[in-house]
Point group: C2
Chain length 104, copies 2
DNA sequence: CTAACGTACAACCAAATGGTTGTAGATGAT
DNA sequence: ATCATCTACAACCATTTGGTTGTACGTTAG
């Protein structure tokens, strides 16, 4: 999880993720889209790959990058659980209030 | 968004978030739960607060920390959009395939 | 075959992160 | 009034991060 959220905590990487979800792209194609060195983009892709948000597939001399929706789903599930925890607390408070009201 | 995901990219902070979503807690109560200095936990809370994942409310000499589900929802929405982008691509591919099949 | 392209990786640097200790100001309890 | 508690914040440190340049290597094109 650390690596997933850390990978998402950068605008360039989120943009790379967006692009590669919408359609495959080679590393150099991605690099052309940003105002930074090829190596920098390569590192961003590596971070995304390390988090499992993206996969690389050799195709001739290129490496095609593909976004991976499963990992996004994992992150979303965690956030969902947090929202559930919060709702459970509100429900407890509501129940308590109902109980108090009832006794009056 | 950077700050939200960056705040979530740490197990201690995610745990603090979980606790404060489930029920309010003062900074010192939180600090007691982890094997690190009070100041370290204080910094983690500050990062969460900076991301809007948590709010602090003075109550006497204590600062009560409360998890904020709205910001979690914002993060979830972004991830949702990414999944939609991916699904849109799959739909396009499906449509293309259907078209090709049809012509044969 | 040779030249150009796409990628990988190392070395380096500045800035940010995650931790520490120490000091000081409010507030509450005795 | 004094003492203990809770918090804030600064200074410091090691490590990680996000960027750079340079070099090397496999693959494709001419």
């Amino acid at each position: 999880m650390d690596r997933i959220f850390r990978a998402l905590a950068d605008a360039t990487r989120r943009d790379i993720l967006r692009r590669t979800l919408s359609g495959e792209a080679s590393v150099s194609q991605l690099a052309a889209a940003y105002d930074m060195s090829f190596a920098a983009v390569q590192k961003h892709v590596a971070v995304l790959e390390g988090a499992g948000l993206v996969t690389k597939h050799p195709q001739g001399r290129e490496r095609v990058v593909r976004g991976n929706p499963e990992t996004i789903e994992r992150a979303k599930s965690l956030l969902d659980r947090y929202e559930q925890i919060w709702r459970a607390r509100i429900d407890r408070l509501d129940a308590l209030l109902a109980d108090t009201t009832e006794r009056q």
